[in-house]
Symmetry: C2
């Protein structure tokens, strides 16, 4: 029988809190470095040699994973249990990549079939667009595909589309160029549209509810531009939405592809939210490989031993860092420029899922939950914020990612090595530098070391590896949410701002009273900045 209890009531957690400190620097033998690896999905490997945990701590982390029944709860979720308790919803993003539990039925419909049928529909649509069988208003084949969406309808699909751009090109699969419009700031849409020829541009409007303010405002802007350019906007736009939304089956779109309430925005890259644009841009076979990689990692995540389950190990190390060592942040550092926006996706995935202060039953928690997540690709980060990571006053645990091969085939040699070798040498050097530090007579040049990290490494970054990486972090966040006994699948924290924004909009656009004198005062003060600019170009 599965139980739900807070982290601080767990015996294994109490034992962890009583454990001694671990000196990574002193313990880092070559054997530890060689032996602390776990096979991951899609041919990748996970390394925990540089994590701040010794054998006794790992034993207790395994005991905690067992005591909190993390694998059992994952199985419940896969079987269609209502794991999103606040919203009383199932959590089905895994099912979009393949079934690992019991058949999941909803309103008499098998959900696996639903996801597969939608996928078939948009694969077919993508093939027609790519072949030029569906064409733009003036008869040209489509050359660009622009996603209009925000949050989960933007960050994951955008990260994936950047990640696979050169890889798909190297496989001659890159047919349409993907773009994204997200912000309600019209300077966002304006910039994107300034880069494009509208007469060969398809738009994918993504909003589950069909009521997202930013997305509808951007749709209005785009439709107006299409009309002004003499085109019928209806022939340049498809919708990704739920069946109950105003966009469903609406004749003002070329077609509508469906999602549902059981896949949250930040988990939705595996659904039509990511699938439509990725299969149009890079081909259904590319998106299919992405799903296969994710499914492979989902399957591996069922393994109960942390020594054979890299995601479970990673999740438990994160709990140790957050709740035993008390560290508030995590940096994600992919040594791969194609993963430039993957940290921004992880920021949403992790912080929106686990930035919670009450447990799944609504009781306040007395321990820390999700960390602040940030990151940029290496080596760029080395020339930016690594200074603080090496010599700042607070340790920040690091999550490295790297690959042995370029996405493009040829590389250039300079000074006896190619760029990939330089990139890899920086990756391994940083891991060692952070952990071992360096003594120096000049304290300004000394490094304390003992700054821990983990590493995921693969041979190449392709669609399959990318899918496995998406799954890795989704399941890490899920396991940690189970350990903290929180609901990782709702986001009530975004609601209050929406309510107040509506009232503020009434004041700004129509001069209404907001009902709150502080909000009124702020709006007055902000608007009074007008005409203070005295800029020569005003």
């Amino acid at each position: 029988m599965v139980h739900f209890k807070d982290l601080d009531t767990c015996e294994a957690y109490k034992a962890l809190k009583k454990g001694g400190t671990f000196n990574l620097k002193a313990s880092l033998s070559p054997e530890r470095v060689s032996d602390s690896w776990i096979q991951h999905a899609a041919g990748m490997k996970y390394c925990y040699a540089f994590a701040p945990v010794d054998a006794p701590a790992l034993t207790k982390l395994q005991a905690l994973a067992d005591e909190q029944q993390l694998i059992e709860k994952y199985r419940m979720l896969l079987d269609g249990a209502i794991m999103n308790t606040g919203e009383e919803r199932m959590v089905l993003h895994h099912l979009a990549r393949g079934r690992l539990g019991a058949p999941v039925l909803w309103n008499g419909k098998d959900m696996e079939t639903f996801y597969r049928e939608e996928k078939s529909r948009y694969y077919e649509f993508a093939r027609k667009i790519r072949a030029g069988n569906i064409r733009a208003f003036g008869g040209k084949p489509f050359a660009n595909v622009v996603q209009i969406g925000i949050g989960g309808s933007d960050l994951g699909p955008r990260a994936a589309s950047i990640a696979l751009s050169r890889w798909a090109a190297s496989k001659s699969r890159a047919a349409l160029k993907p773009w994204f419009i997200s912000n309600v700031d019209p300077d966002d849409a304006d910039w994107v549209l300034s880069q494009l020829d509208l007469s060969e541009t398809l738009f994918v409007l993504v909003s589950k509810s069909g009521t997202t303010q930013e997305t509808l405002a951007n749709e209005t802007l785009v439709r107006e531009r299409l009309r002004r350019a003499g085109m019928n906007p209806d022939t340049h736009m498809v919708a990704v939405t739920s069946k109950s939304s105003p966009l469903a089956g609406n004749p003002h779109y070329l077609d509508s592809f469906y999602i549902d309430d059981f896949i949250g925005g930040r988990y939705s890259t595996s659904s039509a939210v990511g699938g439509v644009i990725l299969s149009i841009a890079y081909g259904p076979e590319t998106f299919e490989e992405f799903l296969q990689g994710a499914h492979e990692a989902d399957t591996l995540a069922l393994e109960p031993s942390i020594f054979r389950n890299p995601v479970l190990m990673d999740a438990m190390i994160g709990i140790y860092q957050r709740n035993v060592l008390g560290w508030p942040c995590t940096a994600v550092l992919p040594y791969a420029e194609p993963l430039a926006r993957f940290p921004a996706h992880l920021q949403q995935l992790d912080m929106e899922s686990n930035g919670k202060s009450v447990n799944r039953a609504g009781s306040p928690l007395s321990y820390s939950t999700g960390p602040v997540v940030f990151g940029e690709p290496g080596t760029n980060g080395q020339h930016s914020f690594y200074q603080l990571l090496h010599q700042g006053t607070d340790p920040v645990p690091l999550q490295f990612i790297g690959f042995l091969k370029n996405q493009i085939s040829p590389d250039m040699s300079s000074e006896g090595s190619n760029s990939r070798q330089k990139l890899l040498s920086n990756l391994v050097a940083q891991i060692v530098a952070f952990s071992l530090g360096k003594n120096d007579e000049n304290p300004n040049k000394a490094f304390a070391g003992n700054r821990p990290s983990t590493l995921i490494v693969g041979e190449e970054l392709g669609a399959r590896q990318l899918g496995a990486l998406f799954s890795h972090f989704e399941n890490k966040v899920m396991f940690q949410g189970f350990a903290w006994n929180i609901n990782s699948f709702d986001q009530e924290g975004v609601q209050l701002g929406k309510v107040l924004a509506k009232r503020a909009l009434g004041a700004i656009a129509e001069g209404k009273d907001t009902g709150d004198p502080r909000l009124n005062a702020l709006i007055s003060a902000v608007l009074s900045v007008a005409h203070q600019g005295d800029a020569p170009h005003a």
Copy 2:
């Protein structure tokens, strides 16, 4: 006489630590909201109504600013004192925008004149490129300008170039399109080059030392591509470097523009590092306005009263949040898509400057220094990590930025308001939501409030405002560094990684021993991932 002492020896700091707690939510009257504003440079204003400080705390923060002699130290810096103690260098980025102190001489040369003369040279060069008087190898006018640089040679200039793209277009000043290559990962350069016609592309190679590994590797790659396309690379490339570097006066560049050791990378957007590409892309008059805005803000920062000096106020609030309240992070949230990469620049600026554990004399510190800085534009962030900011277990202080007008002129109306009004309403609503929170019977829908923020607001985001924003954060970091008694102008934390990367490269490229068995073991394990992929497309 100026003294240098640690923060925890200051009487005002001890008084601050003894001060009572402040309940922002309970104290937030309409009067507080209306009255807590300071005029900023370039027509902007700064609001501290939502900061977690009351009148007694502000009095003590003023006393601390006075006791640590922040303005006196700023004046010393402006007068050319050796404020970068570790490297024994002056700190002259302010001088690149105008003189505020005594004339600064070095090796008999007036440094203000040096910066102005270099600026005149690259303005002249930019005019010729823009007018088509200097042309590409095959005779075409240049249409693209690509900066090759990393760290400070990338992040600040890139953030500025994105920020001014649409604004410059609206003023018909956008002549060449700016691009950036930074990462040693060749997939970075490959992606950029795949977007361009090389026969109309100029490259700006930026490296102060002329030896930056990433930048030289990317230069090799770019030159090879130019040669393969039948062009002479020397006619497509200029250098920005120091006079002692191998790139100086080198015939393999169209021209070389000079910088020096007194302007650190992260402070260098105001020098030729930012000036060459920005004046080529958007015109010398645009870069000149950027410098004017920065100089205006630099001038304002001389004011000793925190109630008239928005940067000093911001810096002191940051010290309060970091050292009295103990908060480890700061989020920067520009409600302006053109500032999309401004947080990445601030991440380097702040974390590389103030991520230090020893004071300027090299003694270890027993208090926290620079925070982790992260951020994304609003409203995007609202649909991403704001959940944690609202309802996570740890408070994160917030730094909002907003503007009343679009960079582009027309806006579209939808549902009774335009996009700018929607953006602004979200900005003010979030500030109020974070501070006041909301009671709810359902604890999952309750917001504790008391999550503080500050705000910089302007009428529009143009070159002048952008310059003032760059200055604001540079001077904030400087004042905080003075308060912490650290050297904000060196970056020894990046050295150890470089040394180890060289040894790792010997192992990876030539099979040499690194001299460290742990590093050897890591390299072996990483390389063993090869051929494990069994991907169908391998």
